[in-house]
């Protein structure tokens, strides 16, 4: 069965391409038409209204309506900032990298439109330190756009100024959390801030700041150029409008980024028709939909549509749409141990329950996987998780409990078998 989708990708219109689209190429394909249109025919308020009407929701994980976020920025004069979240460090996520590496100008145009909409003259693009190639390409594309008069002082002959600074991180998942990102930009240890105040009021340098994900902003040029009506012909409006890039990884034959309308395909269709099925024709044991940060879905949920609401109704989150496929040969305890190892490594250490708890969860999971678990360990894991969840400053602490809680709930027998047999029943992988 193949889903014959009559869909021309908007965000990544050159599937499989590895080289960056140049300014000339991008412009030949209507690139910067939205930027010109906004500068010459729209007020900033009209840009915000258009984005609101599009129904675009944040693609960085939380799905917050982008136009509303922009609308929170106070109108008063004074410095305002845009901070673009290109920290992309959630396991299973590699879409912002491809957007920046292949479509740098689409990203830049989206950032410029955001600056114009909120009245910011400076945007920081915070890119994870390991993305050296992507950051180099982005800087080159910004220089190209400046030389062409699209950015800089007096963009396209108007009085609008836009400056973009690429800021390279240095290895820390927590910098993707928006207030830790701001701390990192300010040269402080990147630990999340308590809220309020929210960044829209007091963000970077205590000034009003919009923080958006790369993919979110990459949607904006087409929304402005072609209108919110057109945008809503893609996906399943009003709550799931537009295209989404699905990152598919794990035990599939053809992992990769697949851009599809929200709600157009099911998890099964993504795996079978786009990922060309599970390696070796094996059965699916479970699928993670938001990297390692939301509950795993069992195989009976494979017919769930890939949109925010459907995945939530199935018991998880769409998040950044990072789908990791686990097949029948995958040991669930080992998978949970690896996921918890990530959180132990990435906890910023500010809150005791998260700092100590992730370490404990990892240790207990490891001993079960290594055949030294005790029957009481499962309840211990669950009660420890309860001591972290909801008792910490940022969402990382909550994310860190989902590998434990969801896998015990869904695959308890597998844990029990490890404990009873005193060893892992699966072949190593």
């Amino acid at each position: 069965m193949t889903v014959a989708l009559d869909y021309a990708p908007v965000l990544l219109p050159h599937p499989g391409r590895r080289t960056p689209v140049s300014l000339t190429e991008y412009r030949a394909d209507d690139g910067y038409a939205g930027w010109a249109k906004a500068l010459k025919t729209m007020t900033p308020e009209e840009v915000v209204e258009q984005v609101k009407a599009s129904g675009l929701r944040g693609r960085g994980g939380a799905g917050f309506p982008t136009g509303n976020k922009w609308g929170f920025i106070p109108k008063a004069v004074g410095a305002k900032y845009v901070a673009v979240n290109a920290d992309e460090s959630e396991p299973g996520t590699f879409k912002d990298r491809e957007l920046i590496e292949v479509e740098p100008h689409r990203v830049i145009e989206g950032v410029a439109l955001c600056c114009y909409a909120i009245g910011a003259e400076t945007a920081f693009i915070y890119i994870r330190g390991e993305y050296v190639e992507a950051a180099d390409r982005l800087e080159a594309a910004i220089a190209e756009a400046e030389a062409a008069g699209l950015l800089g002082q007096g963009c396209l002959g108007t009085s609008v100024n836009v400056r973009m600074l690429v800021f390279r991180g240095a290895g820390a998942y927590i910098c993707g959390e928006e207030t830790a990102l701001l701390e990192s930009l300010e040269g402080r240890r990147p630990m999340p801030r308590s809220r309020p105040p929210f960044p829209a009021v007091e963000g970077l340098y205590r000034r009003p700041t919009v923080i958006n994900n790369v993919e979110t902003l990459a949607n904006v040029p087409a929304i402005i150029d072609r209108g919110s009506g057109w945008y809503n012909s893609i996906g399943t409006p009003p709550r799931n409008s537009g295209p989404k890039i699905f990152c598919l990884s794990g035990r599939v034959n053809r992992p990769g980024n697949y851009e599809l309308p929200l709600g157009a395909v099911t998890i099964r269709e993504l795996i079978d028709d786009y990922g060309k099925g599970v390696i070796g024709g094996k059965a699916v044991k479970g699928v993670l939909t938001a990297g390692v940060s939301a509950p795993i879905l069992t195989a009976d949920k494979l017919d769930t549509k890939l949109d925010y609401d459907s995945v939530q109704a199935a018991g998880s989150m769409l998040g950044s749409a990072s789908l990791i496929v686990l097949d029948e040969d995958t040991c669930i305890v080992r998978a949970a141990t690896l996921m918890e190892e990530f959180f132990r490594h990435e906890s910023c250490g500010k809150c005791t329950p998260c700092r100590e708890g992730t370490s404990w969860l990892f240790k207990i999971l490891s001993r079960i996987e290594n055949g030294r678990g005790a029957p009481a360990d499962l309840e211990l894991l669950l009660s420890l998780s309860g001591e972290i969840s909801g008792k910490v400053l940022c969402a990382l602490g909550d994310f860190a409990t989902s590998p434990v809680v969801a896998t015990i709930k869904q695959y308890r027998a597998e844990y029990e078998r490890h404990i009873e047999d005193g060893k892992c029943p699966f072949a190593p992988w």
Binding site: F94, G187, Y205
Partner: protein, 154 residues
């Protein structure tokens, strides 16, 4: 002075680039690290002085970020991602083969092979490794042998 003249000049330029000086601290530390391959205490202190922040502020960052090194290490560093998507596609085997194939260089202290639980955004080209700052992806049997040869030939 621990930092080269060139690095000091580059840090001065950075400081002028941002709305607030302190934003230059992390980029300054990365520049400082490029000088010696790691961050000796004097280099951290000097970067802090150039940016105009207390030494402790710079030390805090140097200790926090995984890409900043407060101890010297071998010139060639291979970091293999062993997070779930890579593990599902043979990351542990890759680590074993690299450690085995580069045993002589590791023993001589010129190469380090490290396993990490971090994901590098290359899960669709797994298994993968970072060779210093560069990505090496789709490391199937051939790719592994090529990588070992590349490192051994350095």
């Amino acid at each position: 002075m621990a930092l080269s003249e060139q690095t000091r000049a580059a840090i001065d330029q950075l400081v002028a680039r941002y709305p607030e000086r302190r934003t230059a601290l992390l980029p300054a530390l990365k520049l400082a690290q490029a000088d010696a391959g790691w961050l000796p205490p004097e280099a951290i202190a000097e970067a802090a002085d150039l940016v105009g922040v207390p030494h402790s502020a710079a030390l805090e960052l140097a200790a926090f970020y995984t890409m900043l090194r407060t101890e010297p290490g071998p010139p060639t560093r291979v970091v293999v991602c062993a997070q779930l998507p890579c593990a599902l596609r043979g990351a542990e085997g890759l680590i074993r083969e690299l450690t085995h194939g580069l045993a002589a260089q590791i023993a001589a202290g010129s190469v380090e092979v490290e396993r990490t639980a971090e994901c590098f955004g290359a899960c669709h080209r797994a298994p993968m490794a970072r060779l210093n700052d560069a990505y090496r992806e789709n490391l199937d049997a051939d790719g592994r042998q090529r990588l070992i040869a590349e490192i051994a030939g350095q």
